[in-house]
């Protein structure tokens, strides 16, 4: 136990400030205010892999590590779409995931935001449309914002998320 406490003490606080970026800081401030106003300070995200190669998931995971610590913005990932304000969808939508994605979308209470994360989700990416792939998420459900990248880095995800929340919400 002493070793664990020692290691924790030596590691210290590693969470980083976001890069000094005037736009981002402004967005960050708006986000805090927006989440406080619209979501009572807490924004719940349900992540849906609709056909990704898993690279986007690895980087979304990284948002929870100590360096990015996305929860400090009041953002957290939830297990059920019924608890979610935001669907964060990755991958080209494989035809085999199409129904599951639609059902997840329908299970998410309105008002809801859909964010397509990664090049595949944004435009089909390397996979495009085929007998097995519907391509972009917007081909299957309404999308409010996209975050490009293959995969988007945790910082790009964070920035994209902050900016996405400034988008007007689609009608439920």
């Amino acid at each position: 136990m002493l070793r664990i406490l020692n290691k924790i003490r030596q590691t210290g606080l590693i969470t980083e400030d976001l890069p000094r970026d005037a736009v981002l800081e402004q967005v960050g401030e708006q986000l805090r205010a927006g989440i406080a106003r619209q979501f009572q300070g807490s924004l719940a995200i349900r992540q849906v892999d609709a056909g990704s190669c898993n690279a986007c998931e690895l980087e979304i995971h990284a948002l929870n590590n100590g360096y990015y610590d996305i929860e400090r913005y009041g953002v957290h990932f939830v297990a059920s779409p019924r608890h979610a304000d935001v669907l964060l969808v990755t991958g080209p939508v494989s035809v085999h995931m199409e129904t599951a994605l639609l059902r997840t979308y329908e299970a998410t209470p309105a008002p809801r935001l859909v964010i397509a994360a990664g090049d595949c989700a944004a435009c089909g990416g390397e996979f495009g449309c085929s007998y097995a792939s519907r391509g972009a998420v917007s081909n299957v459900i309404p999308v409010d914002a996209v975050i490009p990248g293959c995969p988007p880095t945790p910082l790009a995800l964070l920035q994209g998320l902050l900016q996405a929340l400034q988008f007007p919400q689609t009608a439920p």
């Binding site: 892999d49 609709a50 190669c53 690279a55 998931e57 980087e59 990284a62 085999h96 129904t99 097995a132």
Partner: protein
């Protein structure tokens, strides 16, 4: 021991069992040895090979005019043997190899769904890769199936005939395809009594996105990009396997500096994934301290990737003919300088993991895969090594630059979650040692040679030891340097079925940690 010194004995057995070998070639698909057989002998050839002790390593088909060419890979003492036969497209019947190799089950059903091969004695004729979005008599990898064919109307995958359990107190838990965490989709059907799992059946294929079909017609660089997205966590290794296959087909030799850099990227990928998994396995038994610590180490590791390879996961760093960029001295120094700090961190953290009673309580004797089960399924990587399967291509049939390196490979016999954790922990240390040697002896010179497309019909095999285990990729070129066929066989094909076995008798709440300890790739399997 020299390579293939066992082959004459296997051929003698084939002769005894009247398995007719029509033709053999040591060169065409080197380093594998090719044997052409009659279709009617396909099952018996597997039976003899299984008795001989060969590991089964994959099957795929290709359409050649009016016939389907079927290739099955076997491995023995690190050497690969390729069995090949042909069946007419009009009557594509073939004996199954699954009765002798249970690990062949799903891949043969993939061939059945994608090419329309009819297995005469497959023990499980259910569809696998097809989820009712294309017609049962349509086969996406045949020439007459257009890549952009419209799928059938969206419908839930609900009429798949799962194995049923009946009896007092028995109940089912359907899980997925959308899981509760930030993970890939797939369906797990549990049958349980109380908390104990009686049976688990996996239904995968949800992220099938037609990788094999959309590979057709690409050029070599386009295939390398696609291969780098077969399974995002294995982007380096899948790209390497595909490039190795293409380079062998084109008879291109990669410069020594590029070979060494490929291995640097590959070992960095192995370490990054193992660091993530070690933390995640601990997290699944609520040891959050380790989760946070290893997530921190992984993040630092990925930042070095970005600084030196230009990408946190090192995507698109391996290209046909070599590597995309030559890192400068400063970048290489950064990679070298990262090794000792990580070793020091692990020297603090590993003893904490080793001594933590609650961790041992949850991981030891949990999710046991016996050596016999692992051997029968042909389990690879840390799943195999935790269950007595001493198999590592880097050591057994080393490809450059591993032919000049000493590659240790951990081996455990207990086959539980703890053993799969221990393999990863040891492999991180071993890979760090390899990185030291690779970086300290990095050859000078070019990092790529110009790509030259081979003649139509040329083919090659890529074989690399990915972080999950052996990856086998087959590439055949068509006209104008375009890809005619690409099949990447991820090790997950053999490790996923192991999860169905090792969960028996465990409690449902231990499924996440058992699953994480196997960590199969959905995307790499579903293609």
């Amino acid at each position: 021991m020299s390579h293939f010194d066992w082959l004459s004995e296997l051929l003698a057995r084939y002769q005894d069992e009247r398995v007719l070998v029509r033709r053999g070639s040591a060169r065409e698909l080197a380093p594998a040895h090719l044997l052409e057989l009659d279709a009617e002998d396909w099952g018996r050839a597997a039976q003899v090979a299984a008795q001989f002790g060969c590991r089964w390593a994959g099957v795929w088909a290709e359409q050649h005019d009016d016939s389907l060419l079927i290739s099955a890979a076997l491995a023995y003492q690190g050497d690969h043997l390729l069995l090949r036969t042909a069946v007419p497209l009009a009557a594509p019947r073939l004996p199954s190899q699954t009765p002798y190799y249970p690990g062949a089950d799903r891949m043969e059903r993939h061939v059945q769904d994608m090419h329309g091969v009819v297995y005469s004695d497959h023990p499980d004729g259910r569809r696998w890769s097809r989820h009712n979005r294309w017609a049962a008599d349509h086969y996406p990898l045949r020439r007459d199936f257009a890549a952009d064919s419209a799928p059938l109307p969206a419908a839930p995958e609900q009429d798949y005939p799962f194995i049923q359990t009946q009896g007092a107190g028995a109940y089912e838990i359907p899980v997925g395809p959308v899981h509760a965490g930030i993970i890939e989709p797939g369906h797990f059907r549990f049958q349980a009594v109380g908390e104990m799992v009686l049976n688990l059946e996996q239904r995968l294929g949800y992220v099938h996105k037609g990788i094999e079909k959309i590979a057709e017609g690409r050029d070599a660089h386009g295939l390398a990009r696609l291969a780098g997205r077969v399974s995002g966590d294995s982007t380096v290794h899948h790209a390497w396997a595909a490039c190795m296959a293409m380079e062998r087909a084109a008879k291109i030799t990669v410069p020594p500096r590029a070979q060494a850099l490929r291995a640097v990227y590959a070992e960095r990928e192995r370490i990054a994934n193992h660091l993530g998994d070690i933390g995640a396995i601990c997290n699944d038994v609520a040891f959050a301290f380790a989760f946070q610590q290893f997530a921190r180490l992984r993040e630092l590791w990925l930042r070095d990737n970005a600084a030196c390879g230009g990408h946190r996961l090192l995507m698109d760093c391996i290209v046909p003919g070599g590597v995309a960029r030559d890192p400068d001295a400063g970048q290489l120094q950064r990679l070298r300088a990262a090794i000792d700090p990580l070793r020091r961190e692990l020297a603090t953290l590993y003893p904490i993991l080793d001594d933590h009673p609650s961790l041992e309580d949850r991981l030891a004797t949990t999710g046991v895969l016996s050596a016999e089960q692992a051997q029968r399924l042909g389990c690879l990587g840390y799943v195999g090594k935790a269950s007595g399967q001493d198999c590592d291509l880097r050591r057994d049939h080393p490809y450059a630059p591993y032919d000049r390196l000493h590659v240790p490979s951990p081996l455990f016999q207990t086959g539980d979650v703890e053993a799969r954790l221990q393999v990863r922990m040891q492999e991180v240390l071993d890979s760090l040692e390899l990185l030291v040697v690779l970086l300290d002896t990095l050859p000078d010179g070019a990092v790529h040679v110009p790509w030259q497309a081979p003649a139509a019909g040329s083919e090659g095999l890529g074989l690399v030891e990915g972080w999950r285990g052996e990856i086998l990729s087959h590439v055949r070129f068509g006209a104008d340097g375009r890809i005619a066929r690409y099949f990447p066989r991820d090790p997950s094909w053999f490790n996923w079925p192991a999860l169905e076995l090792l969960i028996h008798g465990n409690i449902v709440p231990d499924f996440p940690v058992c699953n994480k300890s196997v960590n199969g790739s959905y995307s790499g399997h579903d293609l």
